[in-house]
Symmetry: C2
Subunit: 687 residues, 2 copies
């Protein structure tokens, strides 16, 4: 982060603090916000004598979790704490009491509630299960504060439980393979924000990422050698379970299936040969639902996977099958006629019914995307909605359970605030109480067209923490500025778990710059974001084999400087001026100007930055326009200023036109402060 | 790195560049410098059509290495290159010709030579073996340059081979366990600088880190559960072999053996029980050389390890046995008398002779530290010298082979320049040509008392690259400023391999600061280094269980601002003034002053930074003294200035006294610019 942005963050933080009481409150960064919090007076000091005791029914998972939590506490406090559990529960600094161990492999509906009571003498964490204690331990760690007197936990009474039982993250390991350590560190992060499902998207047109011992050709021919061995998968499932996280696999079919038919063209809907797909998009290769060989293979495959993945749910995808191969194959058309299947939806439903049997035979519950939802599907199929709340409501009205992912597509690079505003059960829902119960929760989706192990953390975090809060905290917790304030703290703390979302940006920029002079680039990226939605491929086409090391990959959603700048401009214009706003804008504009020369030089001389030449020029032009408008704006904010005259309409129009050009993406990046500058230009011009 | 330091780095780089020709030369950052380089005119463009062809005898190792090299090339250039090898050798951009595959498991003395010829049309890499081609590929990657016209490789003829056959890094995984991924990324880095040995220190008082299937209690009771499984070890050996790196294990004995006798007190020299040692230092527990049980266990153990580790060499440590337990045990004393063993050295030699048999029986060559060298040891024992060149010369004169580690103790936090100046065979060596041949090379040693997985990379890199150059390049390559210039580039490029030596500093500082405002801390660390040598434990005692997350752990050797500042002051005083020096000092002093308030605030309010309160105050005082002296110095450098009078001797003495206090370590850190400020004070004062 650039030093100016830091400076500004501090100013803003200061502005938020009205009194000493608020100071303490503002430092508190619980995320997700617990269901019930009552702050008390007093504090529990955290010193080198801090001890933990366990009571009730406990297990090795909890002991290990406590041990890891204590190592994190040590890391922050520099204290070396005892590694032994205290024998005397009454004297322990933290007493953890669990009524039962709960299920060793987490299951949907596990009781994750806990209470945490802290006074001057002790923190008491009580939970009905081990997993509840884990959630409480994360709250405990988030409570740590420090001041002149040392580290401490504020006195508080917390009574917490999740709003939704299903709070997940989908990781697409298929389009870009993600090594085991990437998955593990993200599991740690999920636990830190109390999420409880890893939805693991393992097969796609672009890759077959799970070892099959029954059909090894599936992964050997379908993955470029990049797949998870069954041993690695078991290791990850164990790692997740130790953090109270379920692992649900997804095997997408009948579409998104190119990597299947590379080795098994006989079960495709048209003759092969097929190759692993390298482009992003929706592709034709589809499993043949009229071929008994297809079912023979899938029956064995699902039995194998059911043995590998202990989770009760198995996701079969089912999305985005356009049926082109089905339409093009007369044999399939004849089959449809013969069976009275009117259209492709009916044929896919036929396919799903066959698959459902395999899944149920193994004691599992089937799950799929909106597309598998049909009026007459069995009630025990769970639907994941990428279409939206209305679609999900329909599912629920019909008696099926479902979860929401629409609005949580973090790959689209939208700001955290947008995701935060999406509620699986909004306040104005028309669902009955019974129907609402069938809305189980939601999942953020990390689709992996454009992420590498170097960048994936920065696409998931910190924004997924805002989604985690939406799914855990009471519906009423919606204040955006406070969410961002806490998100910033959560983001820093996630780093102790090995997450690279912050530290890798500088690394990516150093590689682009071919050296350590990256300040100007950091300034640029403090106000520039990757294009949103599905535009990236259109404006900057790449394949799955392309390097993901460009400026767009270093850039992140929620450019920190932009949010601050835009807000300051709004307040300045609305005359809700706090003294800091002018100072802040002044400083930012100064830094923008200072970056100009370096940006020009670097984009002209470094071939990897050549694509950003126009962006750099635009940024400089933007800084100039902003400066001119700001000077006028400042003048009229001074009560003692001589009356300033408005800029002529011609000046305004010329600049607005220039800003329209500047607003357009270049190198896949958008300067997300253009609107604010536009407002300033309009404000100081003739109306 | 602070932005000022960057700015200054650029100024300095600019100062180095006298002409357009030099510009190109200065950008070249080969490290280690090849044995022979002839720059030519012309360049080979690197475009998306860049292809590679293989000729001669090739193997899968090489293909995989080339593939990884091309991915790194893609990462830097943003180009998506073909993944297929070109069929037409004549038309390939890079033609790699290997005469043989060499040994699949690298061995001492493998031919690592190569030639690399680049002209406008093609780069031709020729090597007698796969491992030679690997070394050449790293040179190839280091040659990449870019300008307005795009990426390219300069035309050149390189004929290269290592000066020493043994170029290693010792990683102590015993005192602080390092996970597999830490070892792997460091193997990648070793290959990048053409090193070829991982010396793996696996057993110590503080931990037994290798799985023994014969004696599982050794690792289960001796490691806190932190050990490498044999499968992981085989994986790492394979990973290393794929990069042309040998893996030599060390099992330190008869001292440094506490973790052995936790489970086997019966083979200790005094009765137990024993516990895993948590402190740093030299400890008493020693294997009993008079007990046949000791040998029974070791015979089986060495046979097991000989099967696990394919390398021809096996290191038995042998260092720092003070023999206290031997002296205290009458039975051992009686044994010595009976066998005519005059002293503890003789007893240890007796022990070594017994061990030697086990090692030789398994076809291995024994290696140990200076202590196992005795006048009459067999000639096929190899000695690793922590004592120095003289000790090594003695070894060699007596007919034994040896390697040097004295001078390469990177854990002591000395500057790269110090290590760089240490030559296993200095120009003034008195050894005969034959004796010189027995000096095989050297090893950097990453002793792990004070490193965690978060910090270890920053202790190894980039300084180990300077040692790599010493061991590979001709003796005459000794220019320090140029070494540092190239080291900076190497350091940035190592990041593409996953090394965290740069990116983790900001992360550590954010944790300490409890937020993102770390600029002042970065400024402080740009001129502050950890105390050197073995002083850390004395001034800031910790155990192996303490968190390594303090300011001292974020600090690094070779503080980048200090080197620049000290040089600028020297030049200013010597009147070898380049115009940049004054500007540069001016800017740095401005930044020091600016950091003052934040440092005061942070060290007073953040308990984790409390230990640095006095350091922060001293830094502010130092900035003030430096500013006063600098203003005077500037005045007298201006030819047009009115003659300035010298400061009185009282002023000087008071400030020198203050500087003496400021120079003392606080929080384990030293401000390494105090000497330069002292020089300025003296310079502007009455003599």
């Amino acid at each position: 982060m650039s030093r100016l942005v830091l400076f500004i963050t501090i100013i803003f933080a200061a502005a938020l603090i009205a009194s000493a009481q608020d100071l303490v409150a503002a430092r508190r960064s619980l995320m997700p916000v617990p269901a019930g919090v009552v702050w008390k007076s007093g504090r529990l000091a955290v010193t080198k004598d801090f001890t933990v005791a366990l009571a009730g029914k406990t297990d090795e998972r909890l002991k290990a979790y406590v041990s890891r939590a204590m190592r994190r506490l040590e890391g922050r406090t520099l204290l070396e704490l005892s590694r032994d559990f205290a024998a005397d529960a009454g004297k322990a600094s933290l007493l953890i009491e669990t009524a039962s161990t709960g299920s060793a492999i987490p299951q949907l509906g596990d009781d994750e509630s806990y209470t945490l009571d802290i006074d001057d003498k002790q923190a008491r964490l009580k939970a009905p299960t081990t997993v509840g204690a884990m959630r409480g331990l994360e709250t405990f760690l988030q409570l740590l504060e420090g001041d002149r007197a040392g580290f401490y936990l504020p006195a508080v009474a917390i009574k917490d439980r999740p709003r939704f039982a299903w709070r997940g993250l989908l990781i697409d390991s298929a389009r870009h393979f993600q090594p085991v350590e990437v998955i593990k560190r993200n599991l740690d992060a999920l636990a830190a924000v109390k999420m409880n499902v890893l939805h693991w998207h393992l097969t796609e047109d672009q890759g077959f990422r799970v070892e099959s011992k029954k059909f090894p050709e599936l992964h050997t021919m379908g993955s470029d050698g990049l797949f998870y061995t069954q041993e690695q998968i078991r290791d990850i499932i164990r790692y997740a379970a130790d953090r109270g996280i379920r692992v649900m696999p997804e095997f997408d079919m009948p579409g998104h299936a190119t990597s299947w038919v590379v080795s098994h063209p006989e079960i495709a809907s048209l003759p092969g040969p097929y190759q692993i797909e390298r482009r992003p998009g929706i592709f034709d290769p589809t499993l043949d639902p009229t071929n008994e060989q297809t079912y023979k293979l899938l029956e064995v495959f699902f039995a194998e996977m059911a043995g590998l993945f202990p989770d009760k749910y198995m996701h079969i995808g089912g999305d985005e099958n356009e049926g082109k191969q089905w339409a093009a194959n007369p044999k399939i058309q004849a089959f449809m006629k013969e069976k009275g299947l009117k259209n492709q939806d009916a044929l896919q439903q036929y396919f799903n019914q066959r698959i459902l049997k395999f899944i149920q035979k193994n004691g599992k519950i089937m799950m799929g995307w909106d597309e598998i939802f049909q009026p007459d599907i069995p009630k025990n199929i769970v639907i994941q909605s990428w279409r939206g709340q209305e679609s999900l409501a329909k599912v629920s009205r019909q008696g099926n359970q479902g979860i929401l992912s629409n609005g949580y597509y973090i790959d689209l690079m939208n700001p955290a605030s947008e995701h935060y505003a999406v509620d699986p059960l909004p306040a104005n829902t028309t669902l009955s109480a019974e129907e609402q119960k069938r809305v189980l929760g939601g999942e953020a989706t990390m689709w992996a067209e454009w992420v590498s192990p170097e960048t994936i953390d920065s696409r998931i975090w910190p924004r997924t923490a805002a989604i985690a809060e939406r799914l855990w905290s009471p519906r009423e917790v919606t204040e955006v500025d406070d969410m961002y304030r806490r998100l910033d703290t959560v983001s820093t703390r996630l780093e102790e778990l090995g997450l690279t979302h912050r530290r890798n940006q500088a690394m990516l920029l150093r590689r682009l710059a071919g050296g350590t002079n990256i300040n100007a680039l950091e300034t640029l990226l403090s106000v520039a974001e990757p294009v949103k939605g599905y535009r990236r491929y259109q404006v900057r086409p790449q394949t799955m084999l392309s390097p993901l090391t460009g400026l767009i990959d270093a850039a992140q959603a929620d450019a920190p400087g932009a949010r601050i700048f835009n807000k300051a401009v709004d307040e300045l214009i609305a005359r809700r001026d706090v003294p800091q706003n002018a100072l802040l804008i002044e400083k930012m504009l100064g830094e923008w100007r200072a970056a100009g020369d370096d940006l020009k030089d670097q984009t002209e001389n470094s071939p990897a930055l050549a694509e950003a030449r126009q962006l750099a020029a635009d940024f400089t032009a933007l800084a100039r326009i902003a400066r001119a408008a700001f000077e006028d704006l400042k003048l009229r904010r001074l009560p003692t200023a001589a009356s300033s005259s408005d800029r002529p309409a011609g000046w305004r129009d010329a600049h607005l036109k220039a800003l329209d050009e500047i607003a357009k993406q270049k190198a896949g990046l958008e300067l997300v402060v253009v609107d604010a500058v536009r407002k300033m230009v309009v404000e100081v011009s003739e109306k």
